[in-house]
């Protein structure tokens, strides 16, 4: 008999772990390169951003961010020299390119639109989804299975397939280019996902909790609020993230239905045009800022999200 160390039949061996780790790290690197490139580009000057061969090492500049938040006009050097001293860093930067700041750009209002529409629709979808999921989970709903299938079926087709009818409807209803219209639309798309995800979570919560609360003197709504919701937070957080990511990134409907006051950031960012061509540092700066909210939200809820994607992890 040869001497071997005992090993578990279920735990992965150290070799397997090494291989798995290597693959994951390689994949993570490949995934993060474009993001890093965008982040780096946002700190380049316009000439650096289109330099060939591409510059990996460069003198960082916040010109991209200045251009993102302002509109500028080209002036003669005489005009610029006649002006007083530059009022800030951005002012100074653009004057070097024979330009003066004419006013704020539309980026900030578009970004705010994105925040309002994405978070608003996420709240609505999760709110409606939680209540319907609870209803489906706890009550005898006539034709419950058919209704659930119907809800799911709204996701079968690509959303853009209904773009034309929705465009016509929205024009008739006066919902075109309004934040309300976009919130309603994203809520409608997300609510099916929310119902299905949350039903799974709520099914896992034994109904004895509400029954105990109802016997102890609470109404069903109070019982739901005080005993079911606190235990469904994991599911709600996971659902909220999925809904938010969709609403935040959605481009097609936003491009079609919003053009002015209610325009969100995704259709706005590609329209940033610079002097003599695309202003890549400004586009990259917009993209970088655009990534921040979703990143923060995901990091804040990462624990719940992790438990959320490993279904059945809700305690019994």
């Amino acid at each position: 008999m040869s001497l071997t160390t005992a090993h578990s039949v279920v735990a992965p061996s150290s070799n397997a772990k090494l291989i798995a780790g290597t693959i994951i790290i390689a994949y993570a690197l490949i995934s993060i390169v474009p993001l890093l490139w965008i982040f780096a580009t946002s700190f380049k000057t316009p000439p650096d951003s289109i330099a060939y061969p591409p510059k990996v090492v460069f003198q960082p500049s916040i010109e991209g961010y200045c251009n993102l938040f302002t509109t500028r006009t080209r002036q003669t050097p005489e005009y610029i020299n006649a002006l007083g001293p530059a009022t800030g860093f951005c002012d100074e930067t653009v004057r070097k390119r024979n330009m003066v700041i004419a006013g704020p750009s539309n980026f900030l209002p578009r970004f705010v639109n994105s925040l309002i529409i994405a978070f608003g629709s996420t709240f609505c979808a999760v709110f409606l989804g939680t209540l319907s999921a609870y209803g489906f989970s706890r009550f005898k709903v006539p034709l419950a299975d058919d209704l659930l299938f119907f809800i799911l079926s709204t996701r079968f087709m690509p959303p853009i397939a209904v773009a034309i009818p929705i465009y016509l409807m929205y024009r008739e209803l006066g919902l075109s280019d309004t934040a309300l219209g976009m919130i309603l639309l994203y809520t409608a798309v997300n609510v099916s996902l929310a119902v299905w995800l949350l039903k799974g979570f709520i099914d896992e919560i034994p109904r004895e909790y509400e029954e105990a609360a109802m016997i102890d003197g609470y109404t069903r709504l109070q019982a739901f609020w005080r005993t079911v919701l606190p235990q469904a937070t994991t599911g709600i957080a996971a659902t909220a993230i999925f809904c938010l990511i969709f609403a935040w990134n959605e481009y097609a409907f936003a491009a079609l239905l919003t053009s002015g006051t209610a325009q969100t950031a995704p259709p706005f960012i590609p329209t940033i045009i610079g002097e003599g061509g695309q202003d890549w540092p400004a586009v990259a700066a917009g993209t970088t800022i655009f990534l921040v909210p979703i990143l923060v939200f995901t990091i804040l809820l990462r624990k719940q999200l992790l438990r959320g994607i490993t279904f059945g992890a809700v305690r019994k």
Binding site: E208, A212, D216, G217, T219, P230, R315
Partner: protein
């Protein structure tokens, strides 16, 4: 505290009838156990008393008030669930105080009541702990605390010891009964465990297929089972049955089983000829070589002070409980003598027990 009166209670789920025309009264301060195999309708009955299910028909009176269609929260009852249903996001103190919070009681008073209750259950040292870290027995005590803190009209318990380890279970059976003796709360307790039922109950209802087969004290149910189902369900090992044929005449004092004459308690009714069964508890069988009723030893189970002996007769195996000192070897032929006064007679078709002098004596004992 209040009495619970259940009248013609019925529950059907579509074509399936879970509870059929149940009638029983739980008197004020009584510990009442509903006993039966799983799926017999005992939990459904309990949930109807609680207001978690609405009955298809019948009435439920709580302290004389008709609560049949009232909401659970308007009935002033407490329920202890099998899974305890302790809220994992609250600590022990908040769990126990949760029902009082619903009544809008001031927090200082809640604090006082919770601490008083915790002391009664000897869990006052756990009040600020999280419920998820508690041992099974302590979880059970917290669940009980949440039930008694409100001083409700009655307690309903649905197999509250079902998930506990055996050692905890025995301890909690004792504690529950002791608690009941102290606070005299009307209690309805559902279980499938006859040991729990026999050791705690003032009254037991044995249920099967949605029907209450027998309602009575543990002693009545053990000594004078009303049906073959009850006789078979209660007792470990259960009652033995020996088949015999022919009818019974009122006043008969003897029957013939496997060719042997067996004296029985005097029969009090006429029974038309049919398949019959003689019921004998294992402890009412003695070995006596002179008896005509014979069998061969099949096997023995040693239990310390007694032993359970399986005896093969022409009508199948019957089990006898005899002192452990008797030495028996498999295959040995023995004669069986049955304690006449303790025998039950059943109609095999309906399973119903035949009225005999044994029932008279019981009735006399009760009324005299």
């Amino acid at each position: 505290m209040a009495e619970i009166r259940v009248q013609n209670l019925r529950k059907a789920f579509g074509a399936f009838v879970a509870v059929q025309d149940s009638n029983f009264v739980v008197e004020d301060g009584e510990f009442f156990v509903m006993l039966g195999p799983s799926g017999c309708g005992k939990t459904t009955t309990l949930r109807m008393i609680a207001g978690l299910e609405l009955p298809t028909g019948g009435q439920i009176l709580l302290g004389g008030e008709d609560v049949t269609m009232r909401r659970a929260r308007e009935r002033d009852i407490a329920f202890v669930f099998q899974l305890f249903a302790l809220y994992p996001h609250m600590n022990v103190r908040k769990n126990i105080g949760f029902p009082l919070l619903a009544q809008g009681m001031p927090s200082a008073e809640i604090r006082g009541r919770v601490e008083e209750t915790a002391k009664l259950l000897r869990i006052d040292h756990l009040l600020d702990k999280s419920v998820s870290g508690l041992a099974g027995g302590d979880r059970q005590r917290v669940a009980l605390g949440r039930a008694i803190v409100r001083r409700p009209k009655c307690f309903l318990m649905d197999e509250p010891l079902g998930t506990l380890d055996t050692e905890f279970r025995d301890l909690m059976v004792h504690e529950l009964r002791e608690l009941h003796n102290r606070i005299h709360a009307t209690t309805v307790y559902v279980t499938h465990d006859q040991m729990e039922a026999m050791s705690m109950a003032d009254k037991i209802a044995v249920m099967n297929h949605g029907v209450i087969e027998q309602f009575g004290t543990p002693r009545e149910i053990y000594d004078r089972p009303a049906t073959m189902f009850v006789a078979d369900f209660i007792g470990s090992p259960p009652m033995n049955f020996l088949g015999f044929g022919g009818g019974l005449a009122k006043g008969a004092k003897e029957i013939v089983v496997q060719g042997a004459k067996v004296p029985v308690p005097e029969v009090r009714e006429d029974v038309a000829p049919a398949e019959m069964a003689l019921g004998i508890r294992p402890e009412h069988i003695r070995f006596d070589d002179g008896s005509k009723l014979r069998g061969a030893i099949y096997g023995t189970e040693y239990l310390g002070t007694t032993q359970i002996v399986a005896v093969e007769t022409v009508d199948g195996i019957i089990k006898a409980r005899v002192p452990a000192g008797i030495h028996l070897s498999p295959g040995e032929q023995v004669g069986l003598t049955l304690s006449s006064a303790r025998l039950s007679l059943f109609e095999k078709g309906s399973g119903r027990a035949v009225r005999t002098a044994m029932h008279d004596q019981a009735a006399e004992a009760r009324h005299g």
